[in-house]
C-alpha cells in the first residue's frame, strides 16, 4: 500500500472531501466575496482610469459651442454619444480673435448614420492641424503628419485596421492610424483634417443630414486656451453674455471632468463601503458556520489531542482547513469573474455612461493580489475564534464518550 504523508494539508483535504456540501457552502461564500471584491476593484479602477484619461485628453481651458449643446458636447467627449451641432462661421471667426485668447482652434463634428464598422454610431471630428493644440499632438503620435486628403485616424473601438479603408457617406477613407484607448467618446470617433471634414459634411447634407447652416463655413466648436492671468470663468461668462444673441455658449472641460470625478468619488465610496460590508457579513456567516461545526467536530479534534497534538497544532490544523476552503473559493470566484468580466466588459463600459478605461492587468496586479488575498483570508480570520476554542476544549471532549 502506498504511504501518504498525513500533513495538516492532507488531513484538511481529506476532511473537506468527506463533507462536500459543507465545503461547497463555505467555498461558495468566499467565491461570491471574491467575485464582488475583485469586480468592484476592476470597476473602480476602470472608472478612475476613464476620468484620468479624460483629464489628460481634454487639454483645453474652454470649449465654445452653440447654446443648448453644452450637455451634448460632454456626452460626445466623455461617453461617445455622437452629436452634431454648428456655430455660424462668421461668429466663429470673431470668437477666435477675442481678447484673452491665447490659442484657439476650430473643430467640426459630424454624426455618421448607423455604420457597419462599429457597434455604435461614429462621431467624425474634423480638426485644424495647424492651430489645434488638443488632439493634434496626440493624433501625430498615432500617424505622423496627421490625416491627409482621403485619410482618417480612428479611435480604438472602430473596427478598421491601419492600412485598410472605411466608408463614410459616399467616400472611402484610408485608415492611417489607430489611437490608444481613452475610455471616452474619442474611442468611437474618426479624425480627419478640416478640408476633408467639410467635404464629408457636404455629403452628409446631400444624403439628407439636417441642421447644418448653409454658409458652408460651419464649425461645431472652438477649443480655446486663455492667456496667463485670464480667469476662465470670467472669460466664459463674458462670451455667454456678449454672444447670447448668436446662440454661443461655453463649456469648461475641466469642470466636466470635475463633475465626472465627483460623481465617481461618490460611486467609488459606495463600492468600497459595500465591499467592506460584504466582507464583514461573509466573515460573520463563516464564523457562525465554523463555530457550529466546531461543536460538532470537537471530538474529532480531541482525537488529535489524545494522540499527542499540542493546542497550537490543533489550531493550525483548523486554520489550514479554513485556508484551503478560502483558497478554493477565492480561485473559483476570481475565475468566474474573469470569464464574466472579459465577456461583458464592452457592454458594461457602454452602459455605464461614464468615461471607462481599464488599466492593464499588469498594473493592477498588486491591488488584485491584495483583494484576492483579503477574500482568501476571510475563512481563516472567521475561524480563528473557533480554532482557538477547539485548541482549548478538544481535550475535554475526548475523555468522555460521544461528546
Amino acid at each position: 500500500m502506498k504511504e501518504r504523508r498525513l500533513t495538516p494539508l492532507r488531513l484538511s483535504l481529506n476532511s473537506l472531501a468527506r463533507r462536500p456540501v459543507r465545503t461547497a457552502c463555505l467555498s461558495g461564500i468566499v467565491a461570491l466575496l471574491a467575485f464582488v471584491l475583485i469586480g468592484g476593484l476592476l470597476l473602480s479602477a476602470s472608472l478612475r482610469g476613464g476620468v484620468e484619461s479624460a483629464r489628460r485628453r481634454l487639454g483645453a481651458d474652454a470649449l465654445i459651442v452653440p447654446t443648448g449643446y453644452e450637455q451634448s458636447v460632454g456626452g460626445a467627449l466623455l461617453r461617445g454619444e455622437p452629436s452634431a451641432f454648428y456655430l455660424d462661421g462668421a461668429v466663429a471667426g470673431e470668437l477666435m480673435e477675442l481678447e484673452g485668447v491665447a490659442e484657439a482652434s476650430a473643430q467640426l463634428f459630424i454624426a455618421s448614420f448607423d455604420s457597419p464598422h462599429c457597434s455604435q454610431k461614429v462621431q467624425m471630428i474634423g480638426y485644424d492641424a495647424d492651430s489645434d493644440f488638443v488632439v493634434a499632438p496626440w493624433l501625430e503620435s498615432a500617424a505622423p503628419g496627421g490625416p491627409g486628403e482621403g485619410e482618417i485616424i480612428v479611435g480604438s473601438l472602430i473596427n478598421g485596421k491601419v492600412g485598410g479603408e472605411l466608408q463614410f457617406f459616399k467616400k472611402y477613407y484610408k485608415v492611417v492610424g489607430k489611437l490608444e484607448p481613452t475610455g471616452m467618446g474619442f474611442d468611437t470617433s474618426v479624425f480627419l483634417n478640416m478640408a476633408a471634414a467639410r467635404d464629408a459634411l457636404r455629403e452628409y447634407v446631400q444624403l439628407g443630414g439636417e441642421g447644418v447652416p448653409q454658409d458652408g463655413e460651419a464649425i461645431s466648436s472652438i477649443v480655446v486656451n486663455v492667456k496667463d492671468g485670464v480667469d476662465v470663468e470670467e472669460f466664459a461668462k463674458n462670451i455667454r453674455l456678449g454672444y447670447r444673441d448668436s446662440h454661443v455658449s461655453v463649456v469648461l472641460p475641466q469642470s466636466l471632468v470635475t463633475d465626472a470625478s465627483r460623481g465617481l468619488g461618490a460611486l467609488l465610496a459606495v463600492v468600497a463601503a459595500l465591499s467592506s460590508l460584504l466582507w464583514v457579513l461573509a466573515a460573520g456567516v463563516l464564523a457562525l458556520l465554523f463555530s457550529l461545526s466546531a461543536n460538532e467536530r470537537m471530538r474529532e479534534f480531541g482525537v488529535y489531542r489524545a494522540l499527542g497534538a499540542t493546542r497550537a497544532r490543533l489550531t493550525a490544523i483548523v486554520l489550514t482547513e479554513s485556508a484551503v476552503v478560502g483558497l478554493v473559493g477565492a480561485v473559483a470566484g476570481a475565475g468566474l469573474l474573469a470569464v464574466v468580466f472579459l465577456s461583458f466588459e464592452r457592454l458594461l463600459s457602454v452602459s455605464l455612461d461614464m468615461p471607462y478605461l481599464r488599466p492593464t492587468f499588469a498594473s493592477l496586479a498588486p491591488t488584485l493580489t491584495a483583494v484576492f488575498t483579503v477574500s482568501w483570508l476571510a475563512p481563516p480570520v472567521a475561524s480563528l475564534f473557533s480554532a482557538l476554542r477547539i485548541g482549548r476544549l478538544a481535550a475535554h471532549s475526548i475523555i468522555r464518550e460521544g461528546v
Binding site: 498525513l6 494522540l307 497534538a309
Partner: protein, 233 residues
C-alpha cells in the same frame, strides 16, 4: 513507580455550584503492571484517566510520571509525552472517519514531535491486534471489536511506556472482550504499564491490582472491601 498520582482533585463549576468530579485521588502503576479502575457511571473514572494522561489539568494534586511532575509542564512538553511515553485510548470510538484504518494507526507519527522515533510499523501492529486484514478499510465499515483493536494498535504505535485505556471492552461480547483483554496482558508482559477502566468482573479478576471509584473518591480495592465490611448503608 512509573506513574504516581498524588492527591489529585478536579472540580467543575456547574450552574454556579462547585462540583467535585475527582477528589483527593492517589494511585500508582509500575512497569509491567496491569491496573484496573472500576466504578459506577459518573464516578469520575474518565476524568481521573484524563488527568493522568495529561489531557486535563487537575485542580489540585500532582501526577508524577517517570520521576517528573507532569502537572507543571507546558502544553507543548506535555503533549510530547502523549504518544511516545503515554498511550491513551479514549472511551468510545475514536477513529477518524475520513482516514483509512492504516492511516488512523499512522496518524500519531504526524502529530507528535518530529524528533520522536517512528516506532513499530503500523501494518505490523495491525497484525499484532488481529486487524491486519482491515488496513485498507474505513472505520465506518468496521465492527465495534475491530474498531477497538485498531485504536489499541494506534496507541501502541509510538511504543509508550504507559498505556491508558478507558473502557476498552465496554461494548464488546464476552469472547471479544476477553480477547482484547488478552492483548493488554501481552503488552504488560512486554513491560509496559497499563491503566484501564472496566466494569467486567471477569476481567477485573485478571488485573494485578484494582482501584474502585465512587463519587470522585478512589480507593484501592482491598482497602475498600475491608472498610465496606464495617459500613452499613
Amino acid at each position: 513507580m512509573l506513574l504516581e498520582a498524588e492527591r489529585v482533585s478536579k472540580t467543575y463549576k456547574r450552574d454556579g455550584a462547585v462540583f467535585s468530579a475527582v477528589s483527593d485521588a492517589s494511585l500508582r502503576v509500575g512497569d509491567g503492571e496491569l491496573v484496573c479502575v472500576t466504578g459506577r457511571s459518573g464516578s469520575g473514572k474518565s476524568t481521573l484517566l484524563g488527568i493522568v494522561a495529561g489531557l486535563l489539568p487537575p485542580t489540585e494534586g500532582h501526577v508524577i510520571f517517570d520521576g517528573a511532575d507532569i502537572t507543571k509542564l507546558r502544553d507543548s512538553r506535555l503533549s510530547r509525552l502523549r504518544g511516545p511515553q503515554i498511550g491513551y485510548i479514549p472511551q468510545g470510538h475514536s477513529l477518524l472517519a475520513s482516514l483509512s484504518v492504516i492511516d488512523n494507526v499512522r496518524l500519531p507519527l504526524y502529530l507528535g514531535s518530529r524528533a520522536a522515533r517512528a516506532g513499530t510499523g503500523a501494518a505490523a501492529l495491525l497484525d499484532k491486534v488481529g486487524a491486519g486484514h482491515l488496513a485498507a478499510q474505513y472505520p465506518a465499515q468496521l465492527s465495534g471489536g475491530e474498531l477497538r483493536r485498531v485504536s489499541i494498535a494506534r496507541a501502541l504505535l509510538r511504543e509508550p511506556r504507559l498505556l491508558i485505556a478507558d473502557e476498552p471492552t465496554g461494548d464488546l461480547d464476552p469472547d471479544n472482550a476477553a480477547a482484547i483483554f488478552g492483548l493488554f496482558e501481552d503488552i504488560a508482559r512486554e513491560g509496559a504499564a497499563i491503566l484501564l477502566v472496566t466494569h467486567d468482573p471477569a476481567l477485573v479478576e485478571r488485573c494485578d491490582r484494582r482501584y474502585d471509584m465512587s463519587g470522585g473518591e478512589l480507593r484501592a480495592s482491598d482497602v475498600r472491601s475491608r472498610q465496606s465490611g464495617g459500613v452499613i448503608c
